[in-house]
């Protein structure tokens, strides 16, 4: 297992290298640059030239790339081109906590609602719970997040006036963003859990377990859930990465000081170092989560064997 994890980490390193390189050159291939005259209309050309040479943008691209990689290997993501005197490392460390809190709560909420809802709809197939979850799933999958956000803001902040409309700091600020973020994951998890549970309930070993007099609750909780949870685990891996590293839309809508917000502004401002830094962070996070999912697989299912 340890050997397997090391191997996976090495593979992840190579993927990272590809990711960084591709992002770097694609970014530079796009016309325009942070300090091109088209971007900064009111700045004298001489100043722009100085700025370019300060950030090393006057060098050939391959040279810039080597410089960047050199810094990267020292754990230094460089200075932001647009936020004066901020390093990218600082931006990430200042933005990540807020993103992570909202994201983690959303994941917990999605699991806490989706799994039980999926199980009950499978057990009471065709019942009102099943219909309810089906409707919820359709809505959750098809409705864009900003519509849900506006609806929730309208109901809870404007009509009922029980929750703040935006901002960050207290627990009540978190409620609407967390529900928004969790909405479509709940829908997916419910459907995944339901279909997988229905499949498992048809299996012979479930009948055999019942034939041994095991109480129904234990049949479901011990044998049913563990056998049917794998599809959900597969889905949770990338979901963790997406939600923890911040949702661009939700962070913008609710003014949450997370990294998602920085990423959106960085792209529109062509803040090269921030774009690269957040891409790297995001990529590393996804790779880590995928690895965790694979390890979780082996823990849940003894038939999964790692080939070292």
């Amino acid at each position: 297992m340890a050997k397997y994890i090391l191997k996976r980490l090495a593979a992840a390193g190579i993927s990272m290298l590809v990711l960084v390189t591709a992002t770097f050159f694609l970014m530079h291939a796009v016309p325009g640059s942070p300090f091109s005259p088209g971007e900064q209309r009111n700045v004298p050309p001489k100043v722009l030239e100085n700025l370019r040479s300060k950030y090393g943008l006057d060098l050939p691209v391959w040279k810039q790339y080597l410089n960047y990689m050199d810094n990267l290997f020292h754990g230094n993501l460089g200075y932001s081109f647009k936020k004066l005197n901020y390093t990218v490392n600082e931006l990430i460390t200042s933005g990540f906590p807020a993103s992570a809190v909202v994201g983690a709560l959303a994941i917990l909420f999605a699991l806490a609602v989706g799994i039980p809802l999926g199980i009950t709809s499978a057990l009471k197939r065709g019942g009102w719970m099943d219909w309810f979850s089906m409707i919820l799933a359709t809505v959750g999958i098809s409705m864009p997040i900003f519509i849900i956000a506006i609806l929730l803001m309208f109901v809870f902040s404007m009509k009922l006036q029980i929750l703040p409309i935006y901002g960050y700091g207290t627990a009540s600020h978190l409620v609407i963003p967390v529900i928004c973020l969790a909405f479509s994951p709940i829908a997916y998890i419910t459907r995944l859990m339901r279909s997988s549970m229905l499949e498992v309930l048809r299996q012979d070993y479930i009948r055999s377990t019942r034939a041994r007099g095991v109480p129904e609750l234990m049949v479901i909780a011990k044998h049913g859930v563990r056998n049917s949870i794998l599809p959900v685990v597969t889905y949770i891996g990338p979901l963790i990465a997406i939600l923890l590293t911040g949702s661009f839309v939700v962070e913008r809508l609710f003014m949450i000081p997370g990294i998602g917000r920085y990423f959106v502004t960085a792209v529109s401002e062509r803040d090269y170092s921030v774009i690269l830094g957040i891409t790297i962070f995001y990529g590393a996070f996804i790779m880590l989560c995928t690895l965790l999912v694979d390890v979780a697989y082996a823990i849940i299912d003894p038939r999964v064997k790692f080939t070292d």
């Binding site: 070993y205 009948r207 034939a211 007099g213 095991v214 044998h223 563990r226 056998n227 299912d301 003894p302």
Partner: protein
Amino acid sequence: MSGHLLEIRNLRTAFAIAGGVVRAVRGIDIFADKGEFLGVVGESGCGKSVTMLSVMRLLSENASVKADLLSFDGMDLLRQSPKKMRMLLGDKIGMIFQDPMTNLDPLYTIGNQIMEPLKLHRKMTSREARKRAVEMLDLVGISSPEQRLKQYPHEFSGGMRQRVMIAIAMSCNPKLLIADEPTTALDVTIQAQILELMKDMQDKFATATLLITHDLGVIASTCSRVIVMYGGLIMESGSTEDIFYRPEHPYTIGLLSSISDVGDTGRKKLTPIPGSPPDLMNPPAGCPFTARCDSAMRICAKARPQMTETGPGSGHGAACWLSEAGAATGKAGRG
């Protein structure tokens, strides 16, 4: 209550499905005595498994089960609460199913699954249950049981898994063991070993065993009494000797002539029964075998024959108009 360990009277099981009702079992009587090895034989879909699952209440929700009497060990099963029923299963009644590959939960160790009913029914601690599990594995012929306990089902072969299933079923020392096609999914040499083991278990624990199979060969080598089912009804029942050497019902005769014989030089042709079993959505009014029967008479299609004993107290009977006619005229069955 009756003196039999298990008694089923006039059991009827039907399934509501899209497009109608399937009458899988249409009124059958079965009893089993303490320590007896009883075989229930019939082709696929004749209702043999459904009968047992009905008694155990293990059928899906679209099934309706009715009976005049269902008793086990002096208890009226029709009146037991689901909880009481559950307490009985795995404790007083053990079950083994057809496919050992799919009947063990792949995610738990064998040990965990053997210990489950022990902890549940016998209130054993983990340590006691583990000790008993080791004993049981040893008893069913699995070597180095302590190590094997920690292994998962996929680390066992088919035959070994069926041994594990038997160990689980026997672990609480049941009074009745129901084995539903326990050897069908196994190859022939393993089949013999498993049957041997079941015989052995029955001797050791004095358990009544009810063996459900479509294989007459399996019946011949194990059972003392046989029930032949067809189309949701019992066609014939009697001692194994009666059924094999003095079959009454044309269906039984057909079944017997359609099995091959190892000692056979190849000159004897196998005689299959032509046609296919009746549609249980619209079961025939008379004997369900009429359409395939060589000796069918006009009455066979109209009215269902009653179970008629070949002689008073013989314990051998057939539900056939031929036997009834024979009994009425004093002839001992069919020539």
